[in-house]
Symmetry: C2
Amino acid sequence: MMANRREVLIAGFGGQGIVLAGYILGKAAAVCESKEATLVQSYGPESRGGACKAEVVISEEQIDFPRASNPEAMVIMAQEAYHAYAAKRQPHCLLIIDEDLVDPNEEKPGMKLLKIPATRLAERLGRKIVANMVMLGFLTGVTGIVSPEAMREAIRTSVPRGTEDLNLKAFETGYEYAQKFVAAEVISS
Amino acid sequence: MMANRREVLIAGFGGQGIVLAGYILGKAAAVCESKEATLVQSYGPESRGGACKAEVVISEEQIDFPRASNPEAMVIMAQEAYHAYAAKRQPHCLLIIDEDLVDPNEEKPGMKLLKIPATRLAERLGRKIVANMVMLGFLTGVTGIVSPEAMREAIRTSVPRGTEDLNLKAFETGYEYAQKFVAAEVISS
């Protein structure tokens, strides 16, 4: 019924390219891996405060309910978004935060929490605006929700012309950063 | 329960700015009119064929189900999209088509169908890419789903810098085109 349904929530504030990140993730799954995918963008009071959220659902079959109500991963790039969504996650949900922008202030042993200085890594590449691509690389590396090849193709065909290399470099940075966690087997479900 | 829930479906093919049109409609309602709004973008087999769809839901309260399963209006900018969605509409649904791109081939008396040469009007403004804004102007004029002021503000803050005037001009063109239908009272619910 919900064959291989996978959900991801990406949240931060306006200007971080949250929705573009969600768009690219869905595109990678749908266009490059022939799955079904949906992206929900919500506006409303939260977005008026500058908060921004993208919900991506990927499935082998048609998606009737496109909300990420039980995501396997949350990518959180702002403290406000952390307060809004992280508390509602299920225990199995992997929480990925930008460690310079989000203070989880509740770290418990066994908590599925991974930290990456995504914005700082992006700044080192010259443009902090590509922190979203660093996050996508990290998400891809630690979850395998889509293949890195599909992500690269989706990035290449979605970012503004002339910025492909920078965005792909940011993706690779995040993907490589994930390898240390994968190697250390920090992520066990 | 579904206080003032309003749904719109916009569909066409890739490159027509379908999702941007949906984004702007949601933003106008949410940011400029303090309502709740969601936008769903679907990928999947249909989008691989080049088809593109945006579902916008606007409400006075939180939106749990963001699908436009019973839209009050469909804006259709491609024949393929017409075949995919128009047949599924409810009788009360207003069908808006780009008359140069879509052949409804079933016109019945009393059918809620409005035609506008949106792409042709956009071409006259110099850029057919703004046909989506012509459609937004027309939709605003005939449905009043959001105020024209909110739409103008949402357009101004959403389109690429330097293209505001062209996009706003396209919006006004569609909005004015709507007035002849409004004046003739073609649209009666």
